[in-house]
């Protein structure tokens, strides 16, 4: 049987992650990689992470980003960028390349985009042109300084990231002459504000402190505005030291035209067109995807250095002589070392597949969302409630749409699918339901599980603190993952988001379609692992349905947004299952299209076999974790006094109303069949795969 011959390269990833026909993305990846494995790696190796301050050496990152086009990646071509259309996938791929070496450098690259995002999403055309274009580095012949932005939300002081609904920044009218534009006084203090050491402008969330201004809004503050633009002291932080963070104090006078998205004057009151909440909602929805991927990619980056460490473990001393298994394989003689690395790799692959599926979906979703907005505006449907009401009316069509979307091409009603695909509202509701699960799931699971599995990776290289024995900056990556689990919405926020979205009937229609797809696959290709994942998803769906209708012994409803002891574990359980599903989709894509590329075709069979083994391992792990969580929720809220069944403990088969759950749990256990054989094969492959002679960045 053919085995994994080399570690998967760009050709393989381009097919799996669906950008083989996007040379713009491939070029951006190469640019990011050259910076990551050159400048970034040297900064880390030289100890630049040991300072909180923004140093001249760290500032070299900005020059490198400017020169290589990464600064302009977020911009549209009319503003000086080079990629047209949505850029969620592009930003994700660049972020993960940088995070392959150091997460802080990726944050540094993304932070200016975060500052621009409110302007990009909701800004007026004039604001978009001034700031998007101004943030593009000057071209030859241009004489201007590039703008750099910082995003200031972090409410409420003195803490950070507590509640985005509470804004402590204040805005009031400082001067308003008849027929003139109002001048506003803005006070804002920030904490842990990224890019603040060098930002020339800040997009800040503020609330009205004046009856002549209604509600909250976001404003643009410039360093040249009259008043105080104090960048503040560097934030002392444990990780991500290659990104600049400060605690600024801002007290500035600005024209009202700096309100993001503009404003109207009604009865002598300034009414911003968008509240800060509306803007943040549209921004954070998408920017969380790259963060999830920045974490998962750390696990993939750990594979090569760990293999090399294991193989070289006994070389160079008296412990092993050339030609002996001990010399050639080192620690890879031991099954445990191999199989723990399989777990690390499989977790990383599942996270990457989930995150990149979310990024691609976000790219597809962006124009649909704009089409929906245009259509509703054309029909005169304005306001959040009126829009929600209009969208609820197309839920049935949206369900039909996602069912057809997930049905095999050739077996579905193609004419009906095309009809619904052209229906902006039905398509929006369908994709919105999916993205509202995939994006928080990516942020939650990829960051959280990476933090757990990076500990395994560090342990696999000894983990006793000698840096030469911990190549690939694994220790720093382990710590970085914890911050990534927190910033841009900590785990609890993602679980709350999922609580509100994972029971959406449109999403559940997708999920049931996946189950049908997996069951069909399990019939035609038994032993793949599709069956265990199908059972896991069925088990989860049954549990959700049960919890939505069940009560605790005191008669309180179990599935309720206040009962985080119920909803949060159920959200976690779902996340365990999503990664393997999208990993399988990626592997099947590789299997179907790899043969068309002569580079990939050579060795394709071994590669696909290996990836399918990783999938099987992760599908079994995911179903096991989900099953455990579901069992705790289904049984755990029954009173200790309640008998399981009438026949007594000896022959207990569970209460009648839970019979199907018992059946699914038992079936899930049996579906583990072969998963450990897959792990055996994958481990063996790791002992035989050819790796480079040396890591391509310093240690």
């Amino acid at each position: 049987m053919e085995i994994l011959r080399t570690l998967p390269g760009d050709d393989v990833r381009q097919i799996m992650w669906r950008y083989a026909d996007r040379f713009d993305l491939q070029m951006a990846i190469q640019s990011a990689r050259s910076i990551a494995r050159g400048l970034v790696a040297r900064l880390v190796a030289d100890g630049q992470r040991n300072t909180h301050e923004w140093t001249p050496r760290k500032a070299e990152l900005l020059t490198a980003f400017d020169q290589s086009g990464l600064t302009a990646l977020y911009m549209d071509p009319e503003d000086g960028g080079f990629i047209a259309g949505p850029k969620n996938l592009a930003l994700s791929l660049v972020a993960l390349e940088l995070a392959w070496v150091d997460g802080g450098s990726a944050t540094c690259s993304l932070a200016s985009n975060l500052a621009l995002a409110p302007i990009h999403e909701k800004g007026t055309p004039e604001q978009r042109h001034a700031y998007m274009g101004g943030c593009v580095p000057p071209q030859p012949g241009e004489d201007r300084v590039v703008k750099r932005g910082a995003f200031a939300l972090t409410e409420a002081l003195p803490y950070i990231g507590v509640d985005t609904g509470v804004v402590s920044g204040r805005v009031r009218v400082s001067d308003w002459q008849d027929g003139q534009e109002p001048m506003l006084q803005v006070e804002k203090r920030g904490r842990f504000i990224t890019n603040m050491d060098f930002a020339t402008f800040v997009t800040a969330a503020v609330d009205s402190d004046d009856p002549r201004i209604k509600g909250s809004c976001m404003v643009i503050l410039e360093e040249s505005d009259p008043g105080t633009f104090d960048r503040g002291t560097p934030t002392k932080k444990m990780v991500h030291q290659l990104s600049s963070t400060c605690d600024p104090v801002l007290n500035l006078t600005i024209p009202a035209s700096r309100i993001i998205g503009g404003y109207e004057v009604r009865d002598g009151v300034i009414v911003p067109n968008f509240s800060h909440g509306e803007i943040i909602g549209s921004v954070f929805h998408r920017t969380r995807i790259p963060v999830g991927l920045m974490s998962s990619v750390k696990l993939l980056s750990a594979v090569e250095p760990v293999i090399r460490y294991h193989r070289n473990r006994f070389r160079g001393g008296d412990a092993a002589q050339p030609g002996t298994p001990r010399f050639d394989l080192g620690l890879q003689q031991k099954e445990d070392a191999l199989q723990r690395l399989v777990d690390v790799w499989a977790t990383g692959e599942a996270g990457m597949s989930l995150g990149l599926a979310a990024a691609r979906l976000a790219d597809e979703f962006d124009p649909i969302e704009r089409a929906k907005d245009a259509l509703l505006a054309e029909r005169g449907v304005v306001g959040v409630r009126a829009q929600m009401s209009a969208l609820r009316k197309v839920q049935a069509q949206a369900i039909e749409y996602v069912e057809l979307l997930n049905a095999p091409v050739g077996k579905r009603d193609e004419a009906r699918f095309q009809e619904l695909d052209a229906d902006a509202l039905a398509k929006f509701v369908g994709l919105d339901a999916l993205s509202n699960v995939l994006i928080p799931a990516c942020k939650l699971w990829c960051t959280g599980q990476t933090a757990v599995m990076m500990r395994e990776a560090v342990a696999l290289v000894g983990g006793y603190g000698i840096t030469e024995d911990c190549p690939g900056f694994l220790f720093q990556k382990w710590n970085d993952a914890q911050l990534e689990a927190t910033y841009e919405g900590p785990e609890a926020v993602q679980r709350r988001h999922l609580t509100a979205t994972m029971n959406n009937p449109v999403f559940l229609a997708s999920l049931h379609a996946w189950v049908r797809e997996l069951k069909d696959l399990a019939k035609t290709r038994p032993g793949l692992g599709a069956g265990v994942l199908a059972t896991g998803l069925e088990l989860w769906a049954w549990t959700l349905d049960h919890l939505q209708n069940a009560t605790d012994p005191e008669g309180r409803k179990l599935y309720h947004n206040k009962r985080q002891g119920v909803t949060f574990p159920l959200a976690d359980a779902l996340c365990w299952l999503l990664g393997p599903y999208f990993l399988l989709k990626d592997i099947l894509e590789l299997e179907a299209k790899g043969g068309d590329n002569p580079v990939v075709a050579d060795g394709l069979q071994g590669l696909v076999t290996f990836f399918l083994d990783l999938f099987h391992v992760q599908a079994a792990r995911g179903t096991g974790e989900a099953g455990r969580l579901c069992a705790e929720l289904v049984y755990g809220f029954r009173s200790p006094g309640q008998k399981c069944c009438a026949v007594g403990d000896a022959e207990c088969v569970g209460p009648e109303e839970l019979a199907h759950f018992v059946h699914l749990r038992s079936k899930a256990d049996m579906c583990f069949t072969g998963s450990r054989l897959s792990k055996d094969r994958a481990g063996l492959a790791l002992s035989q795969v050819m790796i480079p002679e040396a890591l391509d960045y310093p240690i």
């Binding site: 011959r5 080399t6 390269g9 760009d10 050709d11 040379f23 713009d24 491939q26 070029m27 951006a28 990846i29 190469q30 640019s31 050259s34 490198a64 020169q67 290589s68 086009g69 302009a72 080079f82 071209q139 590329n597 002569p598 580079v599 050579d602 060795g603 050819m690 790796i691 480079p692 002679e693 040396a694 890591l695 391509d696």
Partner: protein, 268 residues
């Protein structure tokens, strides 16, 4: 002086960090998993390309072509980086880029590809390339290519070219003993086999990349197959240069003695 037509010949080599293990294949010697190993532009050819781009910038109306004999799928990957570094038009001959192909056959294919470039003005032609390659380093291909194109003004181990307003130029060539030879040439055409040159690798510029890709992708799609092989050459054995490491473990040696031993070793 009218614009130059600078043709840079260069192909890909396996990333030098990879494990390069010689094996025997049905087509002759090769490297284990060669097709799957990531590749880079041959560094010597890279120097030639960056010098060509720099020269083209200084002579108005000049144009740079990169003529490459290699597997087009792997060339495409390499172009995602190289295509961002300098403006050029790619010409592809789809064939092996192995270090074991016969230099004469490679030269013939490259000559045919250059002759077929539409609108190429041979009177304004400069043929650039590496004075050797990172895959084998025979240093023969470029010389044979020049002969096939009828260009007899040839320079090897070049580190610098300076163009004059009248179209003549001077060339700085590496010669033995760490010295340079300065030559004057009346004008094009000429062949220059570059050593390292004097230029750093340019940073990636996506605007250049996007402009180049409009021509690179079609060039890759319409690449003609090139028939090159090991020719009449028979390889008896192939092996990598051996790493030599002689280590002595010595305890309690005085610093002066250690220094003296090192100095003696350096002096030979």
């Amino acid at each position: 002086m009218s614009g130059l037509h600078i043709v840079v010949c260069g192909s890909i080599v396996p990333d030098p960090l990879q494990t390069l293990e010689p094996v025997t294949t049905p087509a002759g010697p090769g490297l284990k998993n060669e097709m799957m190993l990531p590749a880079i532009l041959d560094p010597w050819a890279g120097h030639a390309l960056f010098e060509a781009a720099n020269l083209a910038k200084s002579v108005a109306g000049s144009k740079v072509y990169l003529v490459s004999l290699g597997p087009k799928a792997k060339l495409q990957q390499v172009m995602m980086t190289i295509g961002q570094k300098a403006p050029f038009e790619l010409v592809v001959a789809d064939g092996p880029a192995s270090g074991f192909t016969d230099a004469a056959e490679v030269a013939a294919e490259l000559a045919a590809a250059i002759e077929a470039i539409p609108g190429l003005d041979k009177s304004q032609l400069l043929v650039f390339g590496g004075w050797q390659s990172a895959s084998r380093g025979a240093g023969a291909t470029l010389q044979m290519l020049g002969e096939r194109l009828g260009i007899t003004d040839q320079f090897q181990g070049v580190d610098e070219i300076k163009m004059q307003a009248d179209g003549s130029f001077t060339v700085l060539e590496r010669i033995e003993g760490g010295s340079y030879q300065l030559s004057s040439c009346a004008g094009t055409p000429a062949v220059l086999g570059w050593a390292t040159g004097n230029l750093p690798e340019p940073p990636n510029n996506p605007q250049i990349g996007m402009a180049n890709m409009r021509l690179i992708m079609p060039a890759l799609q319409k690449a003609k197959p090139a028939k090159v092989s090991t020719g009449e050459v028979s390889f008896v054995a192939v092996e990598l240069p051996k790493q030599v490491r002689e280590t002595r473990v010595v305890k309690d040696m005085a610093l002066e003695e250690m220094a003296k031993e090192i100095v003696d070793w350096i002096r030979g």
